[in-house]
């Protein structure tokens, strides 16, 4: 295990307990003083905390695999949010503002083409080696990459028809997921590993579902917003993967310390944020209204339905990530790499591919957080850095490298921030976060739930 902190302290525990008691006492006092208001603050804390938890989960996943702080992660949140804006800006500002920049489209298409080509190569080459020449392989991969690039270029260019263009892909994805589920279920039921029947049945069901879903989505223009979420998450993920494969792999071989990686990713964050500002201007912008934007009154507090959705997404994201890490061979590889990358390489894990997927997932989580918080408030080109820092803090509070810790830390930070501004004012919430961070690092450096 890395030593994150130069020195811990034993008196810290006493202070931590004292502080925790104080916090609890303060809370109790506040709650008895004004129950309805405290419900309100709890709701706020919950919805902010859900975003922080999402950020912390992705962050912790990436950090505990490669052990450097990747600031691109913040840019991923901004890319996700601005991609939704890019795709749906007309609806956001009432048909007045649409960016549509061919340069940007080509750039996105190039990223997607590169990532798809690389992924295909990694998947196919081990299987086709010997049957196809190296050059033939490059031909296949280049063609597939180009096709994916053209397709994504179209999706980005004809944003009004995103349901027609992207609907079939989304349907296909749903079909594949259903097919996998069906096969798993059938195999469990019949106790028949790798059976033919299961394969055929699940394939048939999957295809049927895919066709129906594709047709449904394509026929429902209301799905545009949600499709744009998917596209945006994929895009942020692809950019993350592209940066990892194109830059970090080389850089990590040369880097003498994690700081080199940190500085390089700082450069990336700087460049991407500035580029976003150039394309979208620096003023804050809204994202189009999603569902549930009207506040509901529950127990004396107001909360938007959308905020419940945010909480739901973070919980589902947590469950999914947990499953992935604990139950799949991919998860075992990730943990092995986090423990010792060189040894993992020796025992035959394709570390480059596994880490690439980790970066993809991490960026998708960041993008989700960016999009959800964007719908809740507004988006700004420089939103990434602050979101990143909050995710970073949340994962420190929760215990860096621990997924449960990330969830707990995220919600805890959100709550502390919101209850903290009760007696102060809203503008001090960033200060509160960082004070919490410094307290934790000083006295409780391993966080609430330390990584074993």
């Amino acid at each position: 295990m890395r030593r994150l902190i130069a020195s811990g302290s034993r008196q810290g525990n006493i202070l931590a307990i004292a502080l925790a008691t104080l916090v609890v006492a303060y809370l109790a006092w506040k709650v008895t003083e004004s129950p309805s208001q405290s419900v309100q603050f709890a709701f706020n804390g919950l919805s902010v905390g859900a975003v922080y938890a999402l950020l912390a989960m992705g962050f912790t996943l990436v950090y505990s695999t490669v052990w450097f702080f990747d600031l691109y992660y913040g840019a991923a949140a901004a890319i996700g949010a601005y991609s939704v804006f890019y795709l749906r800006s007309k609806e956001a500002i009432g048909g007045l503002y649409q960016v549509q920049n061919p340069v940007v489209n080509v750039l996105f298409a190039a990223v997607v083409a590169g990532v798809v080509a690389w992924a295909l190569y990694e998947i196919l080459w081990p299987r086709l080696r010997g049957r196809v020449s190296q050059r033939g392989m490059y031909g296949i991969v280049a063609a597939a990459g180009a096709a994916a690039g053209v397709y994504s270029g179209l999706v980005f260019t004809y944003t009004d028809n995103i349901h027609l263009l992207f609907g079939p892909v989304a349907g296909l994805a749903i079909g594949v997921i259903v097919a996998l589920g069906v096969r798993e279920a059938l195999q469990r039921l019949t106790g028949d590993e790798g059976g033919r029947v299961a394969a055929y049945v699940s394939a048939a069901v999957g295809m049927a579902v895919a066709v129906v879903a594709a047709a449904l989505i394509a026929g429902t223009p209301e799905t545009k917003l949600y499709l744009s979420w998917a596209v945006s998450c994929l895009l942020a993920g692809c950019v993350g993967l592209g940066i990892y494969r194109g830059l970090y792999v080389t850089l990590r071989q040369r880097a003498r310390s994690p700081l080199v990686m940190l500085v390089a990713s700082m450069g990336i964050l700087l460049a991407i944020s500035a580029a976003i500002t150039i394309v979208f201007e620096s003023a804050p912008r809204p994202l189009p209204d999603a569902f549930g934007s009207r506040p509901l009154e529950i127990a004396g507090g107001n909360i938007k339905g959308f905020n419940f959705f945010t909480v739901g997404v973070s919980l589902v994201g947590f469950a999914g990530l947990l499953w992935l890490l604990q139950r799949t061979s991919f998860g075992r590889s990730v943990r092995a790499i986090g423990d010792d990358e060189d040894v993992s390489k020796v025992v035959g894990i394709n570390t480059t591919v596994v880490i690439a997927i980790v970066f993809f997932i991490g960026a998708v989580f960041a993008a989700m957080a960016g999009i959800l918080s964007g719908h809740d408030t507004a988006i700004q080109p420089r939103m990434g850095l602050l979101l990143l820092l909050k995710g970073w803090i949340a994962s420190v509070v929760g215990g860096i490298g621990n997924l449960y810790g990330a969830l707990v830390g995220g919600f805890a930070l959100g709550m502390v921030e919101q209850f903290g501004i009760w007696d102060l004012a809203g503008e001090w919430k960033d200060v509160i976060s960082f004070v919490v961070l410094i307290l934790f690092l000083s006295f409780w450096p391993k966080g609430l739930l330390p990584r074993k």
Binding site: R256, L259, V263, A264, V435
Partner: protein, 348 residues
């Protein structure tokens, strides 16, 4: 280090300038290019504009030199510097401002109307004091955790500038910051101010040079390389780190005082986290653990903005953003090919 030391021929003589350039000596090239760029810029834009740019350069350079003491010589990658810069700027602004804020129908603060040279030491002392307190807390952190907490200091200080309205007037900013007065002479003119700023830069650089060439400076580099080993040889490393941290913060406050006096109006927007990241980029670009490199980095940074104006189709308002894109890409390239920066003596 082969790239750093000028290659010597077999007889042990240093080859001439031209062969070294031809061999791709990065340091020489960097110096040469910036020199040519400066001359070209002065010829192209005229002396008047060059004076303005020169002042901007001097302020960034003071910051870069002082930050290099912390990052390059002591190995603490700090993003906190903008906070100390802000403390210097706000101290001078608040103490020298003559505006009667009760007449403006916005938030009022008391006025002190001190002269610049009385306010600047207060700012420096305040920055030093803050650095001392912060440093005591931060001393235990290092590497990436240090980066994180230094982000924290930058954000906290920005929020203080923005929200402590009773002292700073928040987003309204502070007007009429006094220009320095020497004897009876008010340094009103741009040229006079440039000279003054350059004198400050020279003093700060000289002090930095004095520090890094002393035994103290050598100990700092040892701490950067291995804190524990340095402590076994009798050095109380926490004291050394604290000392350089405070000194560097005080230097940043000098830059802050100059800045607020020069622009005569400041608001929190000049002290956002982004500026600190840009500053770190300047230091790394110019080179770690070299004072001349920081000057070069600041010059490059300032000229880069002017260079951006050559880019076709780029509206003027985006010149600053375009510079950030270039700077970001440069950081990545440097980390790939030259992690010590252009003239650096220390690789991250």
């Amino acid at each position: 280090m082969a790239t750093n030391t000028p290659e010597t021929t077999e007889e042990g003589r240093r080859p001439g300038l031209i062969p070294r350039l031809a061999n791709g000596n990065v340091e020489l090239w960097a110096n040469l290019i910036v020199l040519v760029w400066v001359i070209a810029f002065v010829l192209w834009q005229g002396v008047g504009f060059a004076i303005t740019i020169g002042t901007v350069f001097a302020i960034w350079a003071i910051l870069a030199v002082s930050l290099n003491l912390v990052i390059g010589f002591t190995g603490l990658l700090s993003v906190a510097h903008i906070g100390f810069f802000g403390i210097g700027a706000y101290s001078v602004a608040i103490l020298t401002s003559k505006t009667d804020y009760s007449l403006l129908r916005t938030e009022g603060i008391p006025t002190y109307e001190l002269p610049f040279f009385a306010a600047l030491p207060v700012g420096i002392a305040l920055a030093g004091l803050t650095a001392l307190v912060v440093g005591v807390v931060f001393n235990r952190f290092r590497d990436d955790v240090f980066v994180l907490v230094s982000f924290g200091f930058a954000i906290i200080s920005f929020n203080l500038f923005l929200n402590a309205r009773a002292i700073t007037r928040g987003a309204f900013g502070i007007h009429d910051v006094a220009r320095p007065v020497i004897g009876t002479r008010v340094l009103d003119g741009e040229l006079e101010f440039l000279v003054m700023a350059l004198v400050c830069l020279a003093l700060v650089s000289a002090l930095a040079w004095f520090i890094v060439t002393s035994s103290f400076g050598r100990v700092l580099t040892a701490i950067r390389e291995d804190e524990q080993a340095a402590s076994v040889f009798g050095y109380q490393v926490t004291h050394y780190k604290l000392a350089i941290w405070v000194i560097s913060a005080m230097m940043a406050a000098v830059a802050g005082g100059l800045f607020s006096s020069w622009t005569s109006f400041i608001d929190p927007n000049s002290f956002i986290l982004l500026e600190s990241i840009l500053l770190v980029s300047i230091v790394i670009l110019g080179g770690l653990a070299t004072i001349w490199g920081s000057l070069l980095g600041a010059m490059t940074f300032v000229l880069l903005e002017e260079g951006m104006r050559f880019i076709p189709f780029l509206p003027d308002v985006y010149v600053g953003q375009a510079r950030q894109v270039v700077l970001g890409v440069m950081l990545v390239l440097l980390m790939l090919f030259r992690p010590q920066g252009l003239l650096g003596r220390y690789r991250l």
